[in-house]
């Protein structure tokens, strides 16, 4: 295994779950489409890995590629259908009240996130992943202060939607 391959595998392992959740949230829970975006994201990570200068955290760098790749998928037919069907999908693993409750909450979240604009969706998904707002601002190309205000507004909107669902 070359040095690049080893580094890529490490980047993949440490970012896969976050990127998968981000993409799932972005496309309303459509697993097949999210999977395509995740794959494309990591193809771009591979192609650009040598150019990573370490100026930002590697996770921020991967998030940036992932959010931009999501934008590229606006042209995808599957994406268009997601917008129409609100095709949401967390089946509980078992039928215990706790599992049902979690599944119900997640379905509401997917639905409410899908109601947001593309940009707001990306911002709140990064916030849900625990990304510092300074890094969200860097990914989105906006001022830190603007992101702080925007996150506050989206959080309120999301919580209101979830409680009304």
């Amino acid at each position: 295994m070359t040095e690049k391959e080893a580094l890529f595998k490490e980047v993949y392992r440490s970012n896969y779950s976050n990127i998968m959740r981000l993409c799932m949230g972005y496309v309303g829970g459509n697993k097949s489409l999210a999977n395509d975006i995740v794959q494309d994201t990591f193809v771009k990570v591979w192609e650009n890995l040598e150019g990573f200068k370490g100026k930002s955290k590697i996770s921020t760098w991967v998030y940036r590629i992932a959010v931009n790749t999501c934008l590229l998928y606006l042209r995808n037919e599957k994406y268009k259908k997601v917008q129409i069907d609100h095709n949401v999908l967390q089946e509980p693993t078992d039928h215990s009240p706790e599992a049902m409750d979690t599944s119900n909450k997640l379905n509401k979240m997917y639905h409410c996130i899908n109601e947001l604009s593309e940009q707001n969706r990306a911002i709140i998904l990064l916030e849900l992943e625990g990304t510092p707002q300074k890094e969200i601002a860097e990914v989105m190309g906006q001022k830190h202060e603007a992101i702080r205000t925007r996150v506050h507004r989206i959080k309120k909107e999301l919580l209101k939607c979830i409680s009304n669902e």
Binding site: K9, Y12, R13, Y16, S17, M20, R21, G25, K31, N35, V38, Q39, D40, F42, V43, K44, W46, E47, N48, G51, W61, R64, I65, V67, N68, T69, L71, L72, L74, R75, K80, Q90, T93, T102, K105, L106, M109, S117, E118, Q119, N120, A122, E127, L128, E129, G130, E138, V139, M140, G141, Q142, K155, L158, L159, I162
Partner: protein
Amino acid sequence: MNDFEKIKETWVNQREDFSMEDVFGAVKKRIKKVGNQQKIANIVLVTTIAVLVFYFFAVSAFKDSQMILGMSMMICSLIVRVAIEVLSIRKLRKLNALLSTSQFKAVLIRYYKERKTVHLVVTPLLFITYILGFVILLPVFKNNLSTGLFWYVVISSIIVFPVLIVFIAKQIQKELRVLELLEKME
């Protein structure tokens, strides 16, 4: 823990249905596939040009000025269209995904605006050139083909041209929708 922290916890703890290893394998396959796709696109472009140039000489089109004009118009419009498409696909793949999202969105909007010009100006011009070339060739076809084959060429073209128009219109509609979506984003 406030309400947002609670939903955040639910979000990050959600079950994953995808195996990390399966997706990693798919990523490796896709990395190879992307390289192959670029080679295939180049092969399509070169083959199209080679076949059309070969056909031009095979039918001795250079012996008849009307045939030179008609065939050149048809061949050139096809070559230009295929070249634009190949370059456009390459450009989309090469867009710099390392930009911030707002910069990337601006680049994408510029890309789709260029595509809009291609669709609304260049493609119709090329399509008209192609049809004109075909019309110029009709008398040549009439003189050189049997009556049955001549009418087959005419009727099949009457069917093919509208189908092509519908196909192109759908493609344009799809890309204009993306442009509209991008421009609407805050």
